[in-house]
């Protein structure tokens, strides 16, 4: 029954039900390995988090603003972003101009072939 529900892609197959079974087995193995852990480990015994030598901030004071989250990525692609973001100028007539521009390019391509 489950094998009849396999999605064929021409190059591969995908069966979510089998995937779920495999996932369940993997979780089971994980839990099994976890059970080897020391049972006498209690909460509070763990070391404090190391934050570059700074004191751990109080609970509730440690929000990381979303715009800082991918700073590394956006900084690495700065050249790209500096070109693309200004294109989103927000001016209504620019938007119209872009559409007409694409249309003009398509006219040239279609009428030339």
């Amino acid at each position: 029954m489950t094998f009849a529900w396999t999605l064929e892609t021409g190059s591969g197959t995908w069966n979510p039900l089998l995937w779920l079974v495999a996932f369940g087995v993997a979780v089971g193995i994980g839990l099994y390995i976890r059970s080897f852990g020391r049972a006498d480990n209690r909460e509070g015994d763990a070391l404090k988090p190391f934050i570059s030598g700074n004191e751990e901030p109080e609970d509730g004071a440690s929000h990381l603003p979303a715009s800082n989250l991918y700073w590394g990525f956006t900084d690495a692609l700065k050249a790209y972003y500096q070109k693309v973001v200004p294109l989103h100028s927000g001016i209504p007539t620019d938007y119209v101009a872009w559409m007409l521009g694409v249309m003009a390019v398509m006219f040239i391509i279609v009428l030339a072939t």
């Binding site: 190059s11 591969g12 779920l20 929000h63 979303a66 209504p92 559409m99 249309m103």
Partner: protein
């Protein structure tokens, strides 16, 4: 009575939302409860008719419906005395789109009953919402070019009015203006193209025009005038600029349906390329296949990279819908590029197209779900700024769960529905060019990254003092999200039956140009 209803399903499909829309202000006079009951009734009726029609089409083949005549033979064909009548032709592809719109409209109406209840001006709001639904349903059901233009304009007008509805210090109106400006200029271009086709072939019926089409210079001009504005309405880069603006400014329930409205434009684009022009594109079909592929790749990449840096949660999601549209354009473009090569088409073209259509359905579900969760967060916190949100997982667990389902689905994580359709696209597109597949996967990874950011910013972290009052949203809003989430999970777990019974017939219908014409004109 029952068989009468079945016979007139295509007409009822448009009549039900229109009737609901125009009676809402009257119902509103009788009180807000009457209005809510009427709106709910209208939503259920519209969705029920949509499901019934789709089931009929998928069960027993294409349905045609002629307004003002008993059957289409009196309007077109040898015995036709009067060649111009509005005609609906609902084949498997239209049925798929009708299913998407019905499901989505039902979920968002239930959601908005609670989400909008604190606002004023609800009579016109619901009237506009149902006009939008009617416009979208009309766009995907009609078999007539001019009628398509009318529904396109209905959906654009209602959409723009809804985007601008909550004025919001003028910002929403600015977004509405941009949406209306681009939609109008696009629709005028479509109208001129329809005029060019009518002048040559003396017909407005899609099948009739397709059967007479010669592909001369004027037809090429008409093709560009049709394809580019529809790609713009679907939100393809570099014509996507209006998408983030208007999606962010509209009320969340409306945004969820604007996604469907964009996909109706995508439907029309595919319909025109595959059914109206189809094999006539001759040497140009490669060009147009690559036109879609390039637009698709650009949309996918630019959309996701722009999304990564956004701070406004709805603007971020709007850029993602640009990016997801890229996948659909990519899949359909690959199929169009190999349309002339029967071997390649059978080997991977059909799979690519199936992936694209499957992705359209999935996208409407999870994208709608994500916009609804963003609306739920906005409902309780009053902000869309990710820098100021946080810690809501403690107080809004259901919203968080629904958001997770949507986010995992859009990022293509198994076993949710986004994975199934993306897999179909990856594993077929690489046969044309491996680069396209790799790029599509990179885009998926970036999608996951940016939703990790949103998840972290909205739900994780210790509770914030300013949102201490926040609690779970009212039940109807949860119900609206639950409908969409349930389908996301269900289709994710059972992609094969869904693919076989809905997507595959839609692919066949879209590729079978002769069959579409023969349904109306007879013979082949």
């Amino acid at each position: 009575m029952f068989s009468f209803c079945i016979r007139h399903l295509p007409a009822l499909l448009i009549a039900a939302p229109l009737f609901t829309a125009f009676v809402v202000p009257l119902a509103g006079r009788l009180g807000s409860r009457v209005r809510a009951a009427w709106v709910a009734l209208g939503a259920f009726a519209t969705a029920g008719i949509g499901f019934a029609l789709a089931a009929k089409v998928l069960g027993s083949g294409p349905v045609t419906y002629v307004f003002g005549a008993l059957d289409h033979a009196q309007t077109l064909g040898a015995a036709a005395a009067f060649p111009i009548r509005i005609m609906f032709e609902v084949d498997a592809f239209s049925a798929l789109m009708i299913l998407i719109s019905s499901l989505s409209s039902l979920a968002i109406t239930i959601y908005s009953l609670a989400a909008e209840s604190r606002q004023s001006g609800l009579d016109i709001f619901y009237a506009m919402l149902f006009l939008l639904v009617a416009g979208v349903l009309g766009m995907v059901a009609t078999g007539d070019l001019f009628n398509f233009f009318v529904f396109l304009e209905i959906s654009s007008l209602a959409g723009a009015a809804l985007v601008a509805y909550r004025i919001d210090e003028g910002v929403a109106v600015e977004a509405g203006l941009k949406y209306a400006l681009l939609s109008t200029i696009g629709a005028l271009s479509v109208l001129i193209a329809i005029g060019i086709l009518f002048a040559q072939y003396n017909a407005l019926n899609l099948a009739a025009v397709a059967s007479r089409l010669q592909f001369g210079t004027l037809d090429k001009i008409a093709l560009v005038l049709l394809a580019v504005p529809l790609a713009m309405k679907a939100g393809a880069v570099p014509m996507h600029f209006w998408t983030p603006d208007s999606y962010a400014a509209a009320p969340s329930s409306v945004t969820a349906f604007l996604v469907v409205s964009s996909q109706a434009s995508l439907y029309a684009l595919f319909r025109i390329l595959y059914t109206l022009y189809g094999h006539l594109l001759q040497f140009s079909w490669v060009t147009f296949g690559w036109f879609l592929i390039i637009l698709g790749v650009l949309s996918a990449f630019v959309g996701v990279t722009m999304a990564l840096t956004q701070k406004d949660v709805k603007r971020l999601m709007a850029y993602h819908s640009v990016s997801q549209t890229g996948y659909m354009l990519l899949g359909a473009g690959v199929a169009l590029a190999v349309l002339g090569n029967a071997e390649a088409l059978a080997a991977f073209g059909k799979t690519a197209l199936a992936g694209a259509l499957f992705h359209m359905f999935n996208n409407a579900l999870y994208k709608g779900l994500l916009f609804l969760t963003a609306g739920a967060v906005f409902y309780r916190t009053g902000t869309r700024n990710l820098d100021r949100l946080g810690g809501l997982g403690h107080t809004m667990p259901w919203t968080m769960a629904f958001f997770m389902i949507g986010a995992l689905a859009i990022a293509g994580i198994p076993p949710f529905n986004g994975f199934a359709s993306k897999l179909l696209i990856y594993e077929s597109v690489y046969r044309l060019s491996p680069f396209l597949s790799i790029l599509a996967m990179v885009v998926s990874i970036l999608t996951l990254a940016s939703f990790v950011k949103v998840f972290h910013a909205m739900f994780l972290g210790p509770p914030r003092a300013e949102y201490a009052e926040a609690r779970e949203v009212p039940r109807p809003m949860l119900a609206g999200m639950a409908i969409l989430a349930a389908f996301v999970v269900l289709i994710g777990l059972l992609p094969r039956p869904f693919n076989d019974h809905m997507i595959a017939p839609a692919v066949e219908a879209l590729l079978d140009r002769v069959g579409y014409i023969a349904t109306i004109l007879g013979g082949s």
